[in-house]
Point group: C2
Chain length 360, copies 2
């Protein structure tokens, strides 16, 4: 199977670029002496998992118990489920802890109570700390609440407190690198204070943080013990806009058939819409609302993004590409074009069953 044989919207993964992105993070983690536990929610792919394994990675993060099950089947045996424990899946979690090393995440006392009651096999738990994203977790000053969790945890010897987990997701709203740095530094400083407070009692606890923008942009990851980025494996336009990557590091595109051309409006209609790309958009450097940049496909992959050309709107299965006239004149009905995705996590999820790997 090669790109030219694609008939329907398909994710094309350049494994050379993926390997480059993995290497970059392995090196960065080594220089900074932090543990690298990649988050597999972006790719959710057995095959991409193997690329990590070949480079020596043996600890991963996932975002659901279902996803953990998939990777346990693929012989991953040290998994942090970086999503607060869903107590409705207690049986599924119990089953997993029988066979592999699982770390759970606690954001509420009800979760640790259930965990305490069911754990028969060693199970790690992190406490989720909210350093400003305000999605979930205890705020760093909620010492009493954190102690309550630890007290309940201690009632079952199989439960091992692993430390504090945070996701600086508010970096995705940052306007520039400086803002990302500020968020990182203030967040890590809060986590450090917590760690100091509890490490006398729990000397092995760590700080684990997660977001791709921080982990990509910061050279110095001082103050953290483990990083769990996920999005970096493919990167995307949103990450590029934040300054996390160059366009050349974006490792995934969606190849889409051209259905028709409108010469009056300088538009291409493509087979490729919200069910393939998701409805995420960015405001691009020209101020356009863009659902993706456009690349030309070639034998080894794809070109740089075509200037003045972007995916301007999408419906369920259709996309409309606004084109510069020169590009438009080169493209024929039935050709394939490539879309650099806005948010590769969602796009890769949507096209999980429809993925082509190149440069393997």
């Amino acid at each position: 199977m090669n790109i030219e044989s694609i008939k329907r919207p398909s994710l094309v993964i350049d494994t050379l670029k993926v390997n480059g992105n993995i290497q970059k993070f392995i090196k960065k983690a080594k220089v900074n002496k932090v543990l690298f536990r990649p988050h597999f929610k972006t790719h959710q792919s057995e095959r991409i998992g193997e690329l990590f394994r070949k480079q020596g990675i043996d600890k991963i993060a996932v975002s659901s118990i279902s996803m953990a099950k998939v990777f346990v089947k693929n012989a991953w045996s040290d998994i942090t489920i970086a999503f607060p424990f869903n107590i409705r899946e207690v049986r599924e979690l119990k089953q997993l802890t029988k066979f592999v090393r699982i770390n759970t995440l606690i954001s509420a006392p009800e979760q640790i109570v259930v965990l305490k009651n069911i754990s028969q096999f060693q199970t790690g738990f992190f406490i989720k700390i909210d350093t400003g994203m305000h999605r979930t977790g205890f705020e760093p000053f909620q010492i009493k609440e954190i102690e309550e969790i630890l007290t309940i945890g201690k009632m079952n010897k199989k439960l091992i407190f692993k430390g504090f987990l945070s996701h600086f997701g508010h970096t995705y709203q940052a306007q520039n690198k400086e803002q990302v740095e500020l968020i990182y530094k203030s967040s890590v400083s809060e986590l450090q204070k917590l760690k100091k407070k509890f490490e006398k009692q729990y000397p092995t606890i760590i700080i684990t943080i997660g977001d791709t923008p921080s982990c990509s942009i910061l050279k110095d990851l001082k103050g953290t013990d483990e990083i769990r980025p996920g999005n970096f494996v493919y990167y995307d336009l949103m990450q590029m806009k934040l300054g996390s990557c160059t366009e050349n590091e974006i490792a995934a595109i969606v190849a889409c058939p051209v259905i028709d051309k409108n010469l009056n409006r300088n538009e291409l209609l493509i087979y490729g819409g919200a069910v393939h790309l998701s409805k995420e958009y960015i405001i691009d450097s020209q101020g356009n609302k863009s659902f993706g940049s456009i690349v030309e496909l070639n034998e080894t992959g794809w070109s740089k993004s075509v200037r003045g050309t972007f995916l301007k709107s999408i419906s369920q299965e259709h996309g409309i590409v606004q084109c510069n006239p020169e590009f438009l004149s080169k493209i024929n009905v039935g050709d394939l074009i490539g879309i650099l995705p806005v948010h590769s996590c969602l796009t890769a999820h949507l096209l999980k069953e429809n993925t082509l790997f190149i440069n393997t």
Copy 2:
């Protein structure tokens, strides 16, 4: 399997409501003497297909050749693929026309040329007309271009010109019912002129139109011959906002586990995010950006939407529900709540493998 056994974000379909929505359209089509060819892209479900069949429907529309294949397997034998012909799938189309009655859609001369060259079995084709949505299709004044298509079509006797197909998708941007009516009337009038021009030569041609807002809101569907709405089968908040349906007609919700509660911010964290609901949002009547309204689940289905309570943000797997304090106090970690979706087509697509039918 019942609602209470749900562990992960799941689509819950109330088949009583679905049957009601189907009946309403069958009746409307009958009164208006138009053919009813429901679009199956919203549900993509064999089981929902059976509900249509039980009510006497035997002609359907789909939005891709892949989707046509699914329903051919389920013994549907009269299918309009209401998406312009993707010439990269010529082999797949050819295969389909061997066994069942297929209507294709033409929006460019290149498509009819391919169709002419490959058609060995009778195949219908519609010409796509753009009455103002500006996504794809010929504009009603492009008579020369339309004649060019027909001339090529005539070269293969297996190709049968069926008429003009349009989708008034710009009704989705309408601000009220009056605007929907205006769009409908001006669009149909354009299509009527075209039909008159060509029906001497092609006496059996029809006008087929597609959007749920028009077909729901207009009492009088004068001027059209066939309707192909899809979204009406489940409806959703977007349709409700347009005036296409009442809340009680929304036939699908997403049941989501409650992960934790934040009493300071009056929020619930739920397991349920962009990979379950899509990133579509509306501005609700209070001016909030809302990714869904909230309902309480009960034995027979779900309650009315809870006032002052809505899904205020989503990431890949997380959702944050802004709550009125009274509702918040009733909900516990581990409970399930229901989300009325913003756009049921995308939500149903995302949860295809994770659907529960109730009131069957």
